[in-house]
Amino acid sequence: MSDRVDLWWDRLGWDLTEVILCKLPLRSMIRASAVCKAWRAVLLQLKQQHKQPWLFVFLQGHNNRLLGLGVGRTAFAYDPRDDAESWVSFNLPPDCFAGSAGIAFSLDSSRRLSLAPLLLVGDSSWTTSINTKTPPLASSLCNCNPVVGLVGGAVVVVVAGGARLVGGLVDMNEEPLTTEVLEFDDDCCWRREQCAAALPSLSLSEPRSSALVAGGRLFFVCDTSSCTVSAFDLSRRAWTPPRRLRPEPGLVAAFLASGRGGHRLVLTGVVEEDHRTFRVWDVDPSTMTTTRIGDMPPEILASMMPFGSLRCVGEDGLLYVIADDRHRAYPACACELVAGDGQYDMPTSCTWKKLPPLPQPLISRFHKINAFSSSVLHNLPNMYKY
């Protein structure tokens, strides 16, 4: 339309280009990196991590066993910053069962945990710069979806979980959580450390949720059905005594996530009172005292069915609730905690938003839905520089 040859948006200079491009949601950022060399250079240097967690959704075998098919699967990811566009479909690495801090975790048939960048953003030569496969894990960890936490910076992976298999089925007898810590050491090798197991009352039942708080020192695991919580203290390499976190007697399914900045915990769950609701509490990680924050609004609640299938994942004060109902294309919503003016990081309310439907419903009666939340690293190599 107009001739703007006097305008040189491509010559804004490094600083201003960065100021503009870092305001884009990830997908637009990636497209912008193809606009010109100057923009690409800026975007590759962006240190900013997409901090707000995305929701990742994929299908998994019904009995919780890892599929072991060795093939990548289509998964869907939801970017909370992208208001215009909603779900992204992409290929999850083969046998991926969990994700955290921008990394997808998979277990191969030789029980080695492999790490791969989620969404493959940034420099894909990353995979050659780090040994992405750990030594084999204890066999009990590999039969059931273990909970995995990744502590950035030092690259410490905590794996906890496990179950015995009885005739190919998971043995539901309560058994302590096998725990291993994998640390990427200065010689670029993985050091595997078996740690004391969690106490038996933290049972194996699924699903379980987890949250990293206190600068990544405390890795909380919450058993959904018993509402039992225990934390693995990375500095002591030991679990804290399990305790029941049941602020209200009607709480029948509990999930744990980290609050904004990773200082506090967020407890969510299905409450059966005279009517059913989905409630959110703030939890002080040192005293485990709970404060009620809010309930899911009735209009969203009505679409989140069946109630028994609800799962909640999240971190950094942003939570996602998803229902395992293939007939309704897996309804999901997001809940963002809002901090009050007073005490820092202490949330006082929350806002809810229904997520758009999945673009192409994953319909399979032989699978159940699995979900995790994770931040997305824009430029992976930064994380692995020492």
Binding site: R4, L16, R27, A34, A84
Partner: protein, 174 residues
């Protein structure tokens, strides 16, 4: 001069400073508004810009400077309150409405504004214009972005790179 007016205790009338654009137009504004610029704030704290001298801004023309000052004058009261913890929701909504309308302008003006905001270190204005430009880029393909922002036509090599990128990051182009 030994710090003539420090603090808020300046008897009634607000302190004024004079700014001089690259094309020699003089603008008289309250010191509080001009101080939204980190660059100017230092000069003003040193007592500059008062009286007859004025502060020359050789990188900013008068059209851009008047627009910059329009922003500063509107935002000065909130900034003086230190991020306005006691601002009412109405005040905040009003500022937001102002901001939205303020950047609803021609690209060439946006470009001059962000350059000026960068030179004068006006954080809020820089961020506001950057957000507007980001909104213009959002959701577009690389080619559409180039067209929107008036980049020259891509060379065949650049075109090939764009195509390869699209194949590699298919999910980002959905």
């Amino acid at each position: 001069m030994a710090a003539p007016e420090s603090g808020d205790g300046n008897n009634g009338a607000a302190r004024m400073v004079t700014l001089i654009s690259s094309d020699n137009t003089r603008f008289e504004v309250e010191a509080a508004a001009a101080s939204l610029s980190q660059t100017l704030q230092l000069t003003i704290l040193d007592g500059g810009g008062g009286g007859g001298d004025g502060i020359p801004l050789p990188n900013v023309d008068s059209a851009t400077l008047s627009k910059v000052l329009e922003y500063c004058i509107k935002h000065a009261p909130a900034a003086a309150n230190g991020g306005a913890p006691n601002a009412t929701a109405v005040d905040r909504a009003e500022l937001e409405r102002f901001d939205n309308e303020f950047v609803n302008i021609d690209q060439s003006v946006l470009y001059s504004l962000i350059m000026a905001a960068h030179n004068l270190e006006i954080e809020g204005l820089q961020s506001l214009v950057a957000k507007k430009v980001a909104d213009m880029i959002k959701g577009k393909s690389p080619m559409e972005i180039r067209r929107t922002l008036g980049f020259p036509d891509p060379t065949p090599e650049e075109q090939a790179e764009m195509n390869a990128h699209m194949l590699e990051y298919g999910w980002a182009y959905e």
